[in-house]
């Protein structure tokens, strides 16, 4: 009976657990409780993924109200994968959290932090599992609002401005989304995704649907930080608490990308979105521009967290190029990079968190010679860096492989070449950090630094190890990604 309600439990458990964290005043207790909940959520996501891979799409009607009147939760290979990813990151980051959060936040606010964290997890889970477009908006706003709060809790006062800017831009994006949904509702009278896909077919060529399409593209692109709608990301990631950056960098944009593909492959269908309106012609150039511009800007950053944030924007560019390829290979590349990038970026930001704990800074200058004082942490950073470059045996290589193959299949040679050239820029900005860390003597802040505590090293190396593990044996991730890609290409319209 419990298994039957797994899809909704996935969301209810963290939702109900969040207020409990408020009541548990002591920060250690609220953390322990949150940790327990996050691991339960992860276990549930594993069960869900297993069930979906064995039995196919899971459809759950909330309150037993059948669709399209009731809200239904629809889990197929694509979102089971995304849910698994978010839950994994949520659980591992929370394992890492205590030392980092306790040092960066005032003691009285820690329990509120974990509350917001669990609510953000709820929101992201809900976005990924729901089959109703307005329900998606609700969860979108839950996750967004809590992220604004989480980012604003950073110790640096610039976090406040970053959070405010994110709030304004994110709300604009979400509102555009609502407008798009409203216009679609006007034309079809339904909010259920499958039903929407079916009922849209006769009315696709109306101006209303075209307007809805445009609003949805811009709104969702704002949330996933597609160039040039990425302006909120660098500051938000740079000044937020380390745990928040690690968590959001690995999940927020990924779930938004999932929403994007769900809408444009599933609801609108490839024929309308990509053939009639050539969305691909919009995505691929912007994606490529994002890759190059963001990577180049990253090279000149002195704040390493900001550098990694710009790197994330570039990686989103890769994923959107994959979306724009409109083929099973292209979507496989996007979905596999969704997972791979989350794992490697989270590991990188967790390493930054260790540096901030010990050094109090993440400026390049302050990392001189840190390779000698904090070798394990720096090794994790190198692992993530190699993955960003796309060295074989790391997950980054797998993503590049599928992306370039996807481009070659479509015969888009320049895109393939540009994808590979873009990863060369990553060599420059990663190697800058490697040189400073290993080729200088420890001075100033680094001289007194010691290795990060075990409670932070283990989760960080779990993810760094994963960058190697899923790079050496990519059959699981690419297999699931391929299944997801096939589901998406088929569209939701029956």
């Amino acid at each position: 009976m419990f298994l039957q309600h797994l899809p909704i439990l996935q969301i209810i458990v963290p939702l109900m657990a969040a207020p409990v964290c408020v009541l548990l005043r002591r920060r250690e207790r609220s953390w322990a409780f949150a940790l327990l909940v996050s691991w339960v959520v992860f276990a549930m996501s594993v069960l869900l993924l297993q069930r979906v891979l064995l039995e196919g799409t899971i459809i759950y009607s909330l309150g037993s109200w059948p669709a399209p009147w009731g809200i239904e939760y629809r889990i197929d290979a694509v979102n089971a994968f995304v849910v698994f990813l978010v839950a994994l990151i949520g659980a591992v980051v929370l394992l890492y959290a205590p030392r980092s959060v306790f040092s960066e936040l005032p003691e009285v606010r820690c329990n509120l932090f974990f509350t917001a964290y669990l609510l953000c997890l709820t929101g992201l889970m809900g976005m990924a599992t729901t089959g109703d477009v307005f329900n998606l908006f609700v969860f979108l706003e839950i996750s967004s609002l809590t992220s604004y709060a989480l980012i604003a809790s950073g110790p640096d006062r610039r976090a406040l401005r970053a959070s405010y800017q994110y709030l304004v831009m994110g709300t604009v994006g979400a509102t555009f989304y609502v407008i798009g949904v409203g216009l679609l509702y006007m034309m079809t009278g339904t909010l259920n995704m499958v039903d929407l896909a079916e009922r849209l077919q006769p009315v696709l060529m109306t101006r209303t649907v075209l307007a809805a399409f445009a609003f949805l593209v811009v709104g969702i692109s704002l949330k996933l930080a597609l160039f040039p709608l990425h302006l909120w990301l660098p500051n938000a990631y740079a000044y937020a608490p380390s745990v928040v950056t690690a968590f959001l960098a690995a999940t927020a944009t990924k779930v938004s990308i999932y929403v994007f593909v769900r809408f444009f492959y599933g609801i609108f269908g490839t024929a309308y979105a990509f053939d009639t309106l050539s969305l691909g012609g919009f995505l691929v150039p912007l994606g490529l521009a994002g890759i190059f511009v963001a990577s180049l800007v990253a090279v000149f950053q002195t704040n390493i967290k900001r550098m990694l944030a710009y790197s994330s924007i570039a990686q989103v560019g890769y994923m959107m190029v994959g979306v724009g390829l409109v083929s099973v290979s292209g979507l496989t590349a996007t979905l596999v990079h969704l997972f791979n990038h989350a794992v490697m970026k989270c590991a990188l930001f967790l390493a930054m968190g260790c540096f901030i704990l010990r050094l109090g800074s993440c400026e390049l200058e302050d990392l001189r010679g840190i390779g000698k004082r904090m070798p394990v942490t720096m090794a994790a950073f190198v692992a993530g860096g190699l993955s960003l470059i796309g060295v074989p045996l790391t997950v980054g290589f797998i993503s590049k492989w599928y992306l370039v193959l996807g481009a070659l299949e479509r015969g888009w040679w320049p895109v393939a070449v540009l994808i590979l050239l873009g990863s060369l820029i990553a060599v420059v900005y990663v190697w800058r950090v490697v040189e400073v860390a290993y080729f200088h003597e420890p001075t100033g802040k680094t001289a007194a630094a010691t290795e990060a505590p075990l409670s932070m090293l283990i989760p960080m190396w779990l993810l760094a190890g994963a960058t190697f593990y899923f790079g050496i044996s990519a059959t699981f991730t690419s297999g699931v990604a391929r299944r997801g890609a096939e589901v998406l290409m088929a569209g939701l319209a029956p």
Binding site: A149, V172, T175, I179, M186
Partner: protein, 117 residues
């Protein structure tokens, strides 16, 4: 096509653009929030007005043969209003904290303080 029947859409468009412009052009953070609220409100109006059916009455059961206005957009907008309230509240809270940290809520002053620090 300036038909009276499209009046509600014109209102929506005007409010939306006014709100959006305020968000983009204001230097003062609170004024931005005002603009954001206007922007969101225009969307509420869009939904609610689309639910109105000519000759329809409030969606309360009143016997056979009655035309009702669509209640669903109202439900959706209730949710959206709550979200809007939460967003505004959160935005205001952040502004209060910014005032405490920077001593001002003018965007250009904050930017120059950050650039100098």
């Amino acid at each position: 096509m300036i038909t009276v029947g499209l009046l509600n859409y014109w209102v929506v468009v005007v409010l939306m653009m006014v709100g959006f412009y305020i968000v983009m052009a204001s230097r003062n953070l609170i004024k931005k929030m005002v603009g954001l609220s206007l922007f969101q409100t225009s969307v509420f109006i869009l939904y609610i007005t689309m639910g109105k059916i000519s000759g329809g009455t409030a969606p309360i059961l009143a016997g056979p043969g009655t035309t009702y206005s669509n209640p669903l957009p109202h439900v959706l907008i209730l949710t959206a209003i709550v979200v809007g309230v939460a967003t505004t509240a959160l935005g205001m809270a952040i502004i209060v904290r910014i005032k405490e940290a920077y001593g001002t809520i003018e965007e250009d002053e904050i930017r120059s303080m950050d650039a100098n620090s």
